[in-house]
């Protein structure tokens, strides 16, 4: 494809002698908002730093617009980074920070001036030119960091957990703002986070990573609705994951009950993971229930109640807008669409 802007081919990387990325392949398209999502230590930041030029892969090649850029130092790459803790220059004011990149390129002074004010407008910080960066709030510092990176008009902006230090409300605002900026400028954003909600909100494409490998790639909807294995299901949103046996195509048994499902192609009597989203259960009377049990706890979560039900040897998590008494007996039903069947992860992956 011609619109691939960054391509990682067979990349491996080590950190302190330990392999953190193993033969990773990845194409990033122009104009897309792609997110590396995974727990800490999964190699997502390392991958980002390889693209930025701060780490050299021990194996494999990095291509930028079809050109191999292995060994090219960061200041010669047409990408810019927004760092985790902003990394603003404390000896410069807001203007000095944002102008830094253009100053390096010896851009004429009045052009710097116009471009800085355009950037300040983009990140909603007009009038802050002469502020010292340590006088700014976390959110404002973040905006300066974004403006400082974007003023260089990079083709790709790398963001390393940029919202990690902000409080929840501000984080939500900034998520929308980042998305708006990305759409306004139409450039590629490569975003690293361990926050699944953040990933789902902003991304065109999410890559779920674990132990230096990409487990699954897809749109937020795909990843949420069709997780490839129990790890992804558990990481993206909340799930009930139970052991099951695939009896035949479209028939699975778990919790001692047989269920119709929409999956086929598994081996007969294969051990599988069964994943059920808590919001997919339908609460019914005990008599009608396919799974029955006793309500153990109920927590009000704002939009829904979170009910933990003990039954068939498992604790089931249910999200429902209806409440039930603690101690009450209830039944649960599922439609075939609600049941997600996944191959068991290999032992060494668990």
């Amino acid at each position: 494809m011609s619109d691939i802007i960054i391509s990682l081919q067979n990349i491996s990387a080590e950190y302190d002698g330990e392999k953190v990325i193993d033969k990773l392949n990845l194409d990033i398209r122009d104009h897309e908002f792609v997110t590396f999502l995974g727990p800490s230590g999964c190699g997502k930041t390392t991958t980002l730093r390889i693209i930025g030029g701060f780490i050299e892969p021990t194996e494999g090649d990095v291509f930028f617009e079809g050109e191999k850029i292995n060994g090219l130092p960061p200041f010669k790459r047409n990408v810019n980074t927004v760092f985790q803790r902003y990394a603003l220059f404390p000896h410069l004011d807001v203007y000095g920070n944002i102008a830094f990149g253009l100053k390096q390129k010896k851009v004429p002074k009045d052009e710097i001036r116009t471009r800085v004010s355009r950037m300040l407008k983009l990140v909603n910080l007009e009038g802050y030119e002469t502020r010292k960066v340590d006088q700014l709030s976390g959110g404002q510092q973040q905006r300066v960091a974004i403006a400082r990176a974007l003023i260089n008009e990079p083709k790709v902006l790398l963001l390393d957990e940029p919202l990690g230090a902000l409080d929840l409300k501000l984080r939500k605002e900034m998520q929308l703002e980042l998305k708006r900026i990305q759409q306004t400028l139409g450039i590629t954003f490569v975003y690293v986070t361990h926050d699944q909600e953040e990933a789902l909100t902003m991304s065109d494409r999410v890559l779920v990573m674990r132990r230096g490998e990409i487990l699954q790639t897809g749109s937020p909807e795909d990843i949420y609705n069709e997780p490839i294995n129990a790890f992804v299901a558990d990481f993206i949103g909340e799930s009930n994951i139970v052991d099951g046996i695939m009896l035949e195509d479209y028939l699975v048994e778990f919790a001692g009950v047989q269920f119709e499902c929409v999956d086929a192609g598994f081996g007969s009597m294969e051990d599988v993971d069964v994943v059920i989203r808590p919001e997919d259960f339908k609460m019914v009377s005990v008599e009608e229930g396919q799974i029955k049990g006793k309500v153990e706890s109920i927590t009000f979560k704002g939009v829904h109640f979170e009910i933990i039900m003990d039954g068939h040897g498992y604790k089931w998590m249910i999200h429902s807008t209806q409440s039930r008494e603690v101690g009450a007996m209830i039944g649960l039903t599922l439609t075939p669409d609600d049941i997600h069947i996944m191959h068991k992860m290999k032992e060494d992956e668990v």
Binding site: G52, F54, P73, P74, F75, N80, T81, F83, Q84, R85, A87, L88, F89, P90, H91, F100, G101, K103, Q104, K105, R148, A149, N152
Partner: protein, 270 residues
């Protein structure tokens, strides 16, 4: 104990050993042996104009050399792994734990006419070179003794420059050289200022180094002061006056170099 009372011991210390002695020095500076007020001592200080200049000049050179040598060392130490960094720090502080006189004697045996260096050159039929009893020897002594006081404040300031800041600079298009001049140097200015003060002030008033390594012809202002208190010239009033003038000169120089504090001026200079 409240915060306020916790400061009392130091206040008492400062009063007893800093404020009162300072007052005494000023008192002696402006009185004669009989205790009556006079400008005589201050005026006589003018006779030592050349010695003042020499002391200041040698100290400026020593401070500059300390900065030139110490800056890269401090920078590399701050970027090294924490074990390497701590080992280097220890190596730099180690000589400070040895007696000052002993260290300076050490340099005498190295620089003497039949010292190690001249013996080495002697093997090739060269020399002996006049190394000891020169201004150069005094500068070497000052640099050797005071360079830790340059490196330590620089190191502690540079430790605070996070690697992510340097990465950000490189990411924004700064070449390695520009990272140093545009980020590391301006961010380490407070350490440079402290280092300069901590090296310059003891250098300018030293007397042991100049006596041991400089010989009779390289008397510094510290030697002149010492003579007024311990030597044949015994004249504490003049000694106090010279000390007082030296102190004013140091203050003057420091406030002139205080331009490093001024951000705007700094911008203009860069």
């Amino acid at each position: 104990m409240t915060k306020k009372t916790a400061a009392y011991p130091y206040l008492a210390w400062a009063l007893l050993f800093i404020a009162i002695p300072l007052g005494l020095i000023i008192y002696f500076s402006f009185t004669d042996g009989a205790g009556s007020f006079t400008f005589e001592n201050i005026i006589r200080t003018g006779r030592y104009f050349n010695v003042f200049i020499k002391s200041i000049w040698l100290s400026v050179i020593s401070t500059a050399i300390c900065l030139l040598i110490g800056y890269p060392v401090a920078y590399l130490m701050s970027r090294a792994s924490s074990i390497t960094g701590r080992t280097l720090l220890l190596l730099i502080m180690l000589p400070m734990w040895m007696n000052f006189l002993l260290r300076t004697y050490g340099w005498m045996t190295i620089l003497e006419n039949n010292g190690i260096i001249n013996q080495f050159f002697g093997l090739f039929g060269l020399g002996p070179f006049e190394l000891i009893n020169t201004q150069g020897a005094v500068v070497v002594g000052m640099v050797y003794n005071y360079i830790p006081f340059m490196i330590l404040p620089l190191h502690s300031v540079m430790l605070k420059i996070g690697n992510d800041i340097l990465e950000a600079a490189r990411d924004l298009g700064a070449s390695p050289g520009r990272v140093l001049t545009e980020v590391v140097f301006p961010m380490s200015l407070p350490g440079i200022r402290t280092g300069i003060i901590m090296v310059f002030v003891p250098s300018v008033s030293t007397f042991i180094i100049s006596q041991m390594l400089g010989g009779g012809s390289n008397q510094l202002i510290g030697d002149i002061i010492e003579l007024q208190f311990l030597g044949n010239a015994y004249n504490p009033n003049l000694g106090s006056a010279i000390s007082f003038v030296l102190m004013l000169l140091v203050l003057l120089i420091m406030s002139v170099s205080g331009f490093l504090d001024d951000d705007d001026l700094e911008e203009k200079l860069l």
